[in-house]
Symmetry: D3
Subunit: 69 residues, 6 copies
Amino acid sequence: MEISARNTFKGTVKKVVPGSVNSEVTLEVAPGVEMTAIITKSSAERLGLAEGKEAYAVVKATDVMVATD
Amino acid sequence: MEISARNTFKGTVKKVVPGSVNSEVTLEVAPGVEMTAIITKSSAERLGLAEGKEAYAVVKATDVMVATD
Amino acid sequence: MEISARNTFKGTVKKVVPGSVNSEVTLEVAPGVEMTAIITKSSAERLGLAEGKEAYAVVKATDVMVATD
Amino acid sequence: MEISARNTFKGTVKKVVPGSVNSEVTLEVAPGVEMTAIITKSSAERLGLAEGKEAYAVVKATDVMVATD
Amino acid sequence: MEISARNTFKGTVKKVVPGSVNSEVTLEVAPGVEMTAIITKSSAERLGLAEGKEAYAVVKATDVMVATD
Amino acid sequence: MEISARNTFKGTVKKVVPGSVNSEVTLEVAPGVEMTAIITKSSAERLGLAEGKEAYAVVKATDVMVATD
């Protein structure tokens, strides 16, 4: 499946913190570059996310902000 | 200013494509790792975004999805 | 690719309206049930979206609101 | 009240799963077509959402992604 | 219609800037407090948005970030 | 840090409700004008959010909807 979201980063699951409805998932997408996602707990289970698993971080371009010092 | 968005990546502007209301901005946030943002044209101008400028990509954790093969 | 977004609807492209940076895409996901997406123009081209093509509408659960009369 | 969000689907509440801050709400918006929303627990209570109640799923066009096989 | 989005502000349209697919709408929601929305051009036309018209700014709680100095 | 999000409102924290993964934060951004944010629990702790603290509500223009009666 190819998706319109412009940002797809291949990485590895570093941590999964389950909550009541949501779970917090941390992916390493490049050496020292980590990305944190909040997804529903059932999605984390459906995708079988666990430490060490290969996964992608997917972000729509309209959800990326830009900041400057 | 510190922000609640969990994902902040320091990078360099590679490209800015202005539209009528929005502009498409591409940042390199790690060697070979690019991120595309769609922000309003006036924000791109306000921040003075141009090729080579240092900037951050900022993404909320709830806006990051996870996918698996 | 399987994605954490909870809502995936198989449908058919009814219309594509290209803009300067974004394009408006309308999908029929069930008899008489249409969904409108705004995606980047380059994504619409990358996915080869055109009237009659089979495609999926994908929506994160946190992006769905609920309303009542 | 009329809202700028382009996607409004009339449906029926199938399930409400309350969490600590958020609740997961499933709506049937067409025969066999279900949509899952994550809204705040207090909003679910304010709207009186319960199985069988008539409600609308509301999604902004910029929050709909498109995917292809 | 009552909606799950937690933030609804009654205000007045100050400015509408139409683009090819999207339009930029500025609302004054309290004395000196302005809010900018990017909505689809067709939604701005459907709602008849023009300077001086009464309208609401609606924002989901998950779309509000918090920052500190 | 300056950010592309078009809506930044200076205010005061009125309430913080922690959940398992997320926390609900209410800010007063103008006399009688309150804004509710759902951010991750760890972000609320990182920013030291507590009643009375000065903070900003930050919202992207694409996340603001407009409604009319």
